[in-house]
Amino acid sequence: MIEFTYWDIIRNLLLATRWTILLSLVSFIGGGLVGLIVMSMRISKNRIVSAIARGYIELFQGTPLLMQLFLAFFGMALLGFTVPAWLAAGTALILWTAAFLSEIWRGCVQAIAKGQWEASASLAMSRFEQMRYVILPQAIRIAIPPTVGFSVQVVKGTALTSIIGFIELTRAGTTLTNATFQPFLVYGLVALIYFALCWPLSKSSQILERRLNVSHNRH
């Protein structure tokens, strides 16, 4: 039987952390792009478009991420090709992230005073130009802290992909536990690594929020 030293355990966990980070980045960036589309649909004046976006958000926010992962994994398989776990994991996480980010960003866009829309409309800007030059530059400032805060949820969400067989930090933890019979140590370390990933994000979100409030108060 192979003996695992502490160093072996930590090294293997850190190697698996790469995949947690990579999947988090892909989900966050992909989810941001899809979320932007969903957000613009959600605030569209066309009622049908807006209702579709609302249904999408309700569906993905109202069901467990785990179910979405299962449906992506088994559903894509029904289309007739074998689905690698990373593809199902990435797809489900992107769609899930998009639902939350679009709702966060909608709040930020709608927090911009109505007068700004009217002022830009009176300058004969199109709706796209209004968004691009007037609303978004202001909305992005408010959006940064909650967006950074949500990235923590994405990192934690990637832990679920271990269930459909994507080998990342949690999965590596399970494998190492089975090999070493030291669940207390291994899952403790896994938790600490997640903490090391997430805590800086949470903290910077808080700091950004405080900074932003200061500039807000000076107005």
Partner: protein
């Protein structure tokens, strides 16, 4: 596409599904009540409690909020027995949900407490109320009222997160779905049904929490 969706298996597996739904409802009911009580105690400690007790509570909150629920669950179920704390899967799942919601609700409730105007504390003190009495009668209820929507959302999120407890073989709705799909080989349909049930549960839960808010806080404007 040659594949036909088939839901003919539902009646046969209805008891399994219902049992799973029952466990999920049990988990969220116990988790929400105990978790919120834990959250209130922690929030009181962090905002008004003895100074020495604040850092440990802050550490607990940060640790839970920055690690995945599944890892917490695995740590409790697989890790704690090596310290001699043995639990069955349902107890471990319940404990994990309480500990998880406790940390999140602590932060939410603390925000509500800290938004209380200073005059409220002074008014309580001037009526010769002790600090605990002031907290219990003057501060807590308006604070809860203020943050009720945020707390409700968090409870729904925790309910959806509870799908993970199937991984330690707690027999919740997801466990039922896993069991059924291993028998009927209709994974996609089975998970669609489970997803729809979860969606219904989350809508119902949100509705119930809204209603509870109306019952608990009848004077909506007075608490401003």
């Amino acid at each position: 596409m040659g594949y036909q969706l088939n839901f003919g298996w539902i009646p046969q597996y209805m008891p399994v599904l219902l049992h799973g739904i029952g466990i999920t409802i049990y988990l969220i009911a116990v988790g929400a009540v105990a978790g919120c009580i834990l959250g209130i105690v922690c929030a009181w400690t962090r905002a008004l409690g003895p100074v020495w007790a604040r850092p440990p509570v802050a550490a607990y909150v940060e640790l839970i909020r920055n690690t995945p629920f599944m890892v917490q669950l695995f740590f409790i179920f697989f890790g704690l027995p090596s310290l001699g704390v043995q639990m069955n899967e349902l107890q471990a799942a319940t404990l994990a949900m309480i500990v998880n919601l406790g940390a999140y609700s602590c932060e939410i409730i603390r925000a509500g407490i800290q938004a209380t105007p200073k005059g409220q504390f002074e008014a309580g003190a001037s009526l010769a109320m002790s600090r605990i009495q002031t907290f219990r009668h003057v501060v807590l209820i308006p604070a809860l009222q203020r943050i009720w929507p945020a707390l409700s959302s968090q409870i729904v999120i925790v309910m959806l997160g509870s799908a993970v407890v199937s991984q330690v073989a707690a027999e919740d709705l997801t466990y039922a779905a896993n069991f059924i799909q291993s028998r009927n080989f209709r994974a996609f349909e089975t998970y669609i049904v489970a997803t729809v049930v979860y969606l219904g549960l989350s809508i119902l839960l949100r509705f119930a929490l809204d209603a509870l808010g109306w019952v608990l806080f009848p004077r909506r404007k007075a608490a401003r």
